[in-house]
Amino acid sequence: MFSDAFSTAFRLIATLDPELAAIVALSLQVSLTAVGLAALIGLPLGALVAVFAFPGRGLVVALLNTFMGLPPVVVGLMVYLLLSRAGPLGELGLLFTPTAMVIAQCVLVMPIIAALTRQTVADLYEEYADQLHSLGVGPLRAIPTLLWDGRFSLLTAVLAGFGRASAEVGAVIIVGGNINHVTRVMTTTIALETSKGNLALAMGLGVILLSLALTINGAALAVQRLAQRLQGV
């Protein structure tokens, strides 16, 4: 039975089974959108916290670092409460839509990107501060400079966020509801099909998910190598 499932899984991948393809496409769409939004918020937020000294900065840093490890089911629950009929954003009717999944993953990933950005930018700013000050570049104008000069490390941070988003199941299953052809993504399908005993589809998706993780890590490594070669850092 196991080997049957295995061969079926590879046949599904090799023939680009439409159902499997649709699930993979939705997964990528949701996670890429979520990570894109999270980067738009997290990169400047992390840089702001790194560059400006303000009362309570230590607390914000501690919170960001803590939120890096937010349990997906808790994020799912929070977003569920926000978006449910009785919730503050219930009127938007977003619950059980891909948009809800994007919001949940964005909440999950944004702290990761912000926290890693803060660390990268803070280290860089420590090195650059005197020179930038000497050139008359204040903290606000330093932010784009630091984000650009930290671009390779920051790309790795964004990739880490994407890895987290594409692999989590807890948040999307709560706010998406795992509705067939609507909000079913790779991780939720694996959970469902495994519990139903339909191992072939689950394993096919598992292989794809694993390849995706490998690709992300390979990309991160390649980025580091490239940075080393181009910048000697």
Binding site: D130, S134, G136, Q231, G232
Partner: protein, 255 residues
């Protein structure tokens, strides 16, 4: 006065300088950190034209003095008076090169262009100024190279080119040849000479007495945060007044 606005019509070397910011007068300047007095009531005046070398043993406060003059740090007591009160103009009329050059993670040319952009030089004028600055320090062939893969000497030359491109009235150099081999040191010293001849006021620290002899018109000698001598170089090297300076010149270890 909008000095940089003229850049598009004037070639780089003819760029007019802003109103003279020198002389600078330090009045009872103190700096303390962690409960320790690191600079102790320094009063001195630096006039235009001459090259000042700040000498003293390690921990005398040489770098600190430069940083305070350049405005990277504020004195904890006392005051620094420039001939111009406008902070913005002061900043634009100075540049500093650090002991370990701080190069951005960009190309060689990109580093110079960044400094020009930060000082508001118009985009069209930058390329020509960058080219000129790199040629002056012999780095034109490496313009496209990532700055941080350069050798130590090349990195310091780039830092000098970047500072020079800003056409400062005053250029602070903090141990510009520390950690460099004699050949690289020689190149750096030649560039410093050229910058001096181009009209920038050089204020530098060094612990290399030979370098001080070659480059000083006047010497500021610090010891344990106190100013012991401020004299023409000639007199400092032949007839030092303080016992500490005599010992320093004799190569004795000063505590």
């Amino acid at each position: 006065m909008n000095v940089l606005g003229l850049l598009s019509t004037v070639t780089a070397d003819d760029r007019p300088r802003a109103g003279a910011i020198l002389p600078v007068r330090l009045e009872q300047v103190c700096f303390s950190a962690g409960g320790k007095l690191l600079l102790d009531h320094i009063s001195l005046e630096l006039n235009p034209g001459q090259r000042t070398v700040v000498l003293g043993p390690n921990g005398a406060g040489k770098s600190l003095l430069l940083r305070l003059c350049h405005g990277l740090l504020k004195p904890t007591a006392g005051a620094i008076h420039w001939a111009v009160a406008d902070d913005r103009m002061l900043r634009r009329s100075q540049a500093m090169v650090f002991q370990r050059p701080v190069l951005l993670r960009r190309s060689v040319a990109g580093n110079v262009a960044y400094a020009l952009a930060a000082r508001g030089a118009p985009r069209r004028a930058r390329q020509e100024i960058v080219g000129r600055a790199l040629r002056q320090v012999g780095l034109l062939e490496l313009a496209r190279r990532p700055a941080r893969v350069l050798s130590g000497g090349e990195q310091q030359r780039l830092a000098l080119a970047r500072a020079w491109a800003l056409r400062p009235q005053v250029l602070f150099l903090d141990e510009p040849t520390a950690n460099l081999d004699p050949a690289a040191t020689r190149l750096i010293e030649d560039i410093i000479d050229s910058i001096h001849r181009s009209g920038a006021r050089i204020i530098m620290t060094t612990h290399d007495l030979g370098q001080a002899r070659r480059h000083a018109d006047e010497v500021v000698f610090l010891h344990r945060g106190r100013l012991l001598e401020h004299t023409p170089a000639e007199r400092f090297f032949t007839q030092p007044v303080s016992a500490e300076a005599r010992a320093f010149l004799a190569g004795e270890l000063l505590a």
